[in-house]
């Protein structure tokens, strides 16, 4: 199994532990990752606010590179996934629009033929790798751990661009993986809500209030950790939890795991290799409980 790897800016910037954990579990799963050093940022939806056509063109450029490699794209960032899916949706349903985009790419000698189908690692796990294969690789089941899923917006909305009708399994993918790891799912209504990251710089109070709400909701449900496929959710829920605790005037202490870290823990990979010591909110109590030191 081989993919054109699109880690996204944050996994190469603010969350290097995500990049590292993802490559480690992919090795064990037998997923080969081919980097695309010429690929640009997806625009994260922010660039699109200013210029959607530019955003779509940049993504088409990346898709064309993957087509030239003869591979499908895999990402480890929900936001990248969402933005790429939306761009792809617009281009694939409107050949004229795609032609306009391709006109811009022509100068670089690239053409997007409309065959890309970017997939988040979470989807790759359940659709391509399969949970049986994952089960085989589990050496340290997360028995007794209560884990709350947190999808983040871009992996669940808008449903048409994410092809949810053809892939209803995507709506429960995170729970399925958590169960496969041997942990207990802590279901809560906030799991598909927004973490608040996009307005962190615009209205920090509101952004932090969202962090406080989600983390204390799962705390009250007895969760040992939250797991997310989105590095931006991680940045906010982990990095801003101290402020959330101050705002909500309570202790929350909720470890926020990247999806590949949770998987890696169950595969027996060490705490350090997974970068679990790099978080703002301590993961020590959790890893002790798992038996990972």
């Amino acid at each position: 199994m081989k993919y054109a790897f699109f880690p996204g800016c944050v996994a190469r910037g603010g969350c290097p532990e995500l990049y590292q954990a993802a490559t480690l579990i992919c090795q064990r799963l037998g997923i080969e990752l081919q980097e695309m050093p010429g690929a640009s940022c997806t625009g994260a939806g922010v660039l699109q606010e200013k210029n959607e056509f530019l955003g779509d063109t940049l993504n088409a450029r990346t898709f064309a590179m993957a087509e030239n490699l003869g591979m499908q794209i895999m990402t480890i960032c929900s936001t990248c996934q969402g933005v790429m899916s939306q761009a792809n949706f617009r281009m694939r349903k409107d050949p004229e629009y795609l032609a306009r985009v391709n006109k811009e790419l022509a100068e670089e000698g690239l053409e997007y033929r409309g065959t890309a189908d970017p997939k988040h690692l979470l989807w790759v796990m359940i659709e391509d790798v399969g949970l049986e294969k994952l089960t085989e690789l589990i050496t340290r089941p997360l028995a007794g751990i209560r884990m709350a899923p947190f999808y983040g917006c871009y992996l669940v909305r808008p449903t048409d661009a994410l092809d949810m009708e053809d892939h209803p399994e995507r709506l429960t993918a995170l729970e399925q993986v958590i169960e496969t790891l041997g942990a207990t799912v802590v279901d809560f209504s906030g799991k598909t809500r927004c973490c608040g990251f996009p307005i962190l710089t615009i209205n920090e109070t509101n952004s932090v209030a969202m962090v406080a709400k989600h983390t204390s909701d799962v705390k009250d449900l007895g969760a040992d950790a939250m797991v997310t496929p989105c590095p931006l959710c991680h940045l906010n829920l982990d990095g801003y939890q101290p402020k959330a605790q101050a705002q909500a005037q309570r202790k929350i202490d909720m470890p926020i795991l990247h999806l590949p870290q949770a998987i890696g823990l169950a595969m027996g990979i060490s705490r350090k290799e997974l970068g679990l010591q790099k978080h703002i909110m301590s993961t020590k109590a959790l890893t002790m409980k798992v038996g990972a030191g």
Partner: protein, 323 residues
């Protein structure tokens, strides 16, 4: 078909009122809507169940509530599609707005926001001799926004309103767009400068997280979030760049346009050929800087390969040459 309708109930008139769940088992036709089920419960099992409805055909906007955790119209949702494996449907009142009784919520907040955006045409400048003319396309473009039935489903599920009721919110901002995008509103060129200024202030367009909840909730395809993004674009076009939100978007474009990805923004870098990295850094959102600096070891930064091509694209599509 046999179903169980689990309803979140609330009676303000008992001593120490508290909401509670109540299950109603019933038999429904395969074609029944959730509203049919609720009405049947009220008629046959519990006459005190309070809810709003009128048209039963997604026109009046009265019956918005949370169905299995997501806001929508009870009259537009089929029972058959809403039941889970145990044949249960979970019904709650709409969110954000305070509950009056059972499924009836207080819409005062909703209407306050709509009023706040002054939802009527405000042409400025000289009056034309005849009528104000609007092109067909411009009206067609607005038709999806004008189909709003004021049901409040979007407000119910808005991520930001949940934590901050001062936010203008999806319905009012979509309504505002209905006017900013109307060629008859604003100055002779149809630019609603004053409106945009107000909408770009705190609690307005830049406070939306782009979570998409309102797009999913809306039963009428209004897609409030997309209208909010269009408002942001209009505001930047109108030169209203003096908000953190606008600066964020512009910095993003510049940074991607320089190095192809975001890393550079996050690091103090010395680069050759580009002049104003410290300047860019300083108007990058505080949050990005703080987060990244706190967490990241200073790597040696590099541009993506063939970054020249990305720069060219950004330059060309951001400042298209005059036709």
């Amino acid at each position: 078909m046999e179903v169980t309708v689990r309803i979140r109930r609330y009676d303000p008139e008992v001593e120490n009122p508290e909401s509670y769940w109540q299950d109603f088992p019933l038999t429904m036709d395969d074609s029944a809507t959730v509203l049919d089920a609720l009405i049947k419960i009220r008629e046959q099992q519990d006459g005190t169940l309070s809810l709003r409805c009128s048209c039963r055909s997604s026109i009046c906007g009265s019956c918005a509530m949370r169905i299995n955790g997501q806001a929508g119209l009870a009259c537009k949702t089929q029972v058959a599609s809403a039941i889970d494996d145990a044949s249960t449907i979970v019904i709650e009142p709409a969110g954000v707005m305070p509950v009056i009784k059972d499924l009836v919520v207080d819409f005062a907040l909703f209407w306050d926001k709509i009023r706040e955006v002054e939802p009527y045409l405000q042409p400025q400048g000289e009056e034309p001799e005849g009528e104000y003319i609007a092109s067909n396309e411009s009206m067609l473009h607005l038709s999806s926004v004008t189909s709003c039935i004021m049901c409040g489903a979007c407000v119910s599920d808005c991520t930001v309103m949940e934590v901050d009721p001062t936010f203008l919110g999806p319905a009012a901002l979509a309504k505002a767009y209905r006017f900013t995008a109307d060629p008859r509103d604003g100055d002779a060129k149809g630019i609603s400068q004053e409106r945009l200024e107000k909408l770009a202030a705190p609690t307005g367009m830049w406070d939306c997280t782009r979570c998409g909840e309102c797009v999913t909730a809306c039963p009428k395809g209004v897609a409030p979030m997309d209208r909010i993004m269009a408002l942001r674009d209009q505001a930047m076009e109108a030169g209203l760049n003096n908000s953190n939100g606008a600066r964020h978007a512009e910095a993003f474009v510049e940074i991607v346009g320089h190095s192809g990805w975001l890393n550079e923004a996050l690091l103090p870098v010395k680069t050759v050929g580009i002049t104003n990295i410290p300047g860019l850094m300083s108007f990058l959102p505080v949050g990005w800087r703080a987060l990244i600096h706190g967490k990241m070891p200073p790597l040696v930064h590099h541009n993506i390969e063939k970054v020249k091509n990305v720069r060219k694209l950004v330059k060309k599509l951001e400042d298209p040459p005059p036709e």
